[in-house]
């Protein structure tokens, strides 16, 4: 691959004595949707979380190897971790808005980056809420608590909040698993629009979802990368026996 946005090299990750990721090598293309797929417990989420070093906050995790983002090795860098994380927005399995009102949820990321002028914040909040297709539903109650929104609305709020810190990469960990079909479809469609500007990496265990939106697929099984390639190659011409069996639905 030419100029991958993210390059993971020989990544090994242990929790205590258990090895979760085994010699993982992955390249992720810029401004495309990369889907990490595989059965439950295969290490997809762990791989995703090591990309913005959320693994740092857990006890007993030991990470070895290299992860290059824009050619900077984020595992062995002196760059402040908060700066690295601002380059990446995260959507988790179920939405976790911040314990504050809708407006402040979006403004939070801007404020901690030192942007505090009210006019500027007003404009940005509106912009990102529109981006996430939430503006019309909440424009009259920006000061009401985010916890009062429905789960689908909360996930869109989290998307808007993530976009507001102006990231280059969007990390999504089964972002539709807690959502109703309409909200799920919306998130999928939004990702397809967003890939024009952002590199998107999404974890899922739903094959159909991967077929719908993937440009590039990484298939994991028991902590190892079994196969990776463009969506076309992966679905139409899989090389590995394991991949073929998985695509046929022989195991989940």
């Amino acid at each position: 691959m030419e100029n991958p946005k993210i390059k993971v090299q020989n990544l090994n990750l242990f929790i205590g004595k258990q090895q979760i990721l085994k010699n993982v090598n992955v390249e992720i293309p810029e401004k495309k949707i990369t889907i990490i797929i595989g059965p439950s417990g295969c290490g997809k989420t762990t791989l995703l979380k090591s990309l913005n070093r959320l693994t740092d906050i857990y006890e007993d995790i030991n990470v070895q190897g290299n992860i290059f983002i824009n050619n900077e090795d984020i595992l062995n860098t002196k760059t402040d971790i908060t700066i690295l994380r601002k380059k990446m927005g995260l959507l988790s399995q179920r939405p976790y808005p911040l314990p504050m009102n809708i407006y402040d949820n979006i403004a939070y990321g801007l404020r901690i980056s030192g942007r505090k002028q009210k006019k500027y914040l007003d404009k940005r909040v509106e912009h990102y809420l529109k981006q996430a297709n939430l503006w019309d539903e909440v424009k009259d109650r920006l000061k009401s608590p985010a916890s009062a929104l429905s789960i689908g609305q909360q996930q869109r709020l989290c998307l808007a909040r993530g976009l507001a810190v102006d990231p280059e990469i969007i990390l999504a960990d089964e972002p539709t698993s807690a959502l109703d079909p309409i909200s799920s479809q919306y998130i999928e469609e939004k990702f397809v629009q967003l890939k024009e500007h952002y590199t998107i990496i999404m974890v899922t265990h739903i094959l159909r979802q991967a077929r719908r939106i993937a440009d590039y697929v990484v298939f994991m099984y028991l902590g190892e990368i079994i196969e990776q390639g463009t969506a076309e190659e992966f679905f139409n011409n899989p090389q590995q026996e394991k991949t073929k069996a998985y695509l046929k639905g022989l195991f989940n």
Binding site: R85, K86, L98, P99, G109
Partner: protein, 284 residues
């Protein structure tokens, strides 16, 4: 099948019984205080300091003890919150990966929580003698702070423990530092629990007699500076209850009623403030 139903009924009965017992105990205490004290409770009692002969049943009131208790307990609670909040946040955020150390810290705090207040009082007194400090409001506030600090930290700690991991991840993913996560996310998420922690500490502080006996002393005047001694309601109750004169004994119950009402009013006010922020809380 039948047995399981019987079991269900037995435990339901036991639960109702214990709830009833607790309710009864609370009502009994309140009733005994108010039935004996209300007769002696009047405006003079809560608006005047003791006059000459007050302890023999003559004119005066316990304003000195009411003000003294409020100064001491509020001062100590504010101080304990200012010291305890950063410690509780530090334990849960900065030390979150060092579980063994945290367990040791929690054990020490739990032991300190269990230390009788007279020990804090005696310890404070020893230190005061060493430095040549006299009984004063300041000394009382410091000793009560030490007494309630373990309660404050451990109650806050229990509240912060319940913050969902997903919220922590969300905060860090936005590029928050640990301090921003602590003070902008954790504290907001935990306002109702924070109120509970403050009330627990305040309740212990305002109701304790043993720790202030040697340290803040007792006086018939209202303190106007930190280096003056201060009276407290628990000690006012203690001294008056020890009197052989029935009228003075009844005044002890009136003082107890005043103490109860103060705690009740503060609790209700704090709950109202806490509930205003409850709505922002993200459910786990």
């Amino acid at each position: 099948m039948k047995l399981r139903k019987v079991e269900e009924h037995v435990f339901l009965f036991l639960m109702r019984l214990s709830a009833l017992l607790i309710g009864f105990a609370l009502l009994a205490i309140i009733w005994s205080i108010f039935s004996k004290g209300l007769g002696s409770l009047n405006w003079q009692m809560i608006s005047e300091v003791p006059k000459g002969g007050y302890y023999f049943g003559k004119e005066g009131g316990i304003l000195n003890a009411i003000i003294g208790s409020l100064y001491l307990s509020l001062g100590a609670t504010v101080l304990a919150l200012v010291i305890g909040l950063p410690i509780a946040l530090f334990i849960n955020i900065h030390l979150s990966k060092r579980r063994r150390l945290v367990n040791v810290v929690r054990l020490i705090l739990d032991i300190l929580w269990g230390v009788p207040s007279i020990v804090y009082g005696a310890f404070g007194f020893t230190v005061m003698i060493f430095f040549g400090v006299k009984t004063s409001l300041m000394a009382g506030i410091i000793v009560i702070t030490a007494l309630i600090l373990p309660i404050m930290i451990r109650s806050l700690d229990e509240v912060f423990k319940e913050v969902p991991m997903g919220l922590k991840e969300a905060s860090y993913s936005l590029g928050s530092t640990k301090s921003e996560t602590a003070y902008k996310v954790y504290v907001r998420q935990c306002v109702p629990g924070l109120v509970t922690a403050v009330l627990l500490s305040l309740g212990r502080g305002i109701g304790d007699a043993a720790s202030v006996l040697f340290t803040s002393g007792y006086t018939d005047n209202i303190p106007t500076a930190l280096d003056q001694p201060a009276a407290t309601l628990p000690l006012a109750i203690f001294f008056q209850l020890g009197s052989p004169i029935p009228e003075v004994q009844n005044r002890a119950y009136a003082a107890a009623a005043v103490l109860t009402i103060i705690i009740l009013v503060i609790s209700i006010l704090a709950r109202i403030v806490g509930n205003k922020y409850q709505k922002n809380k993200i459910k786990a």
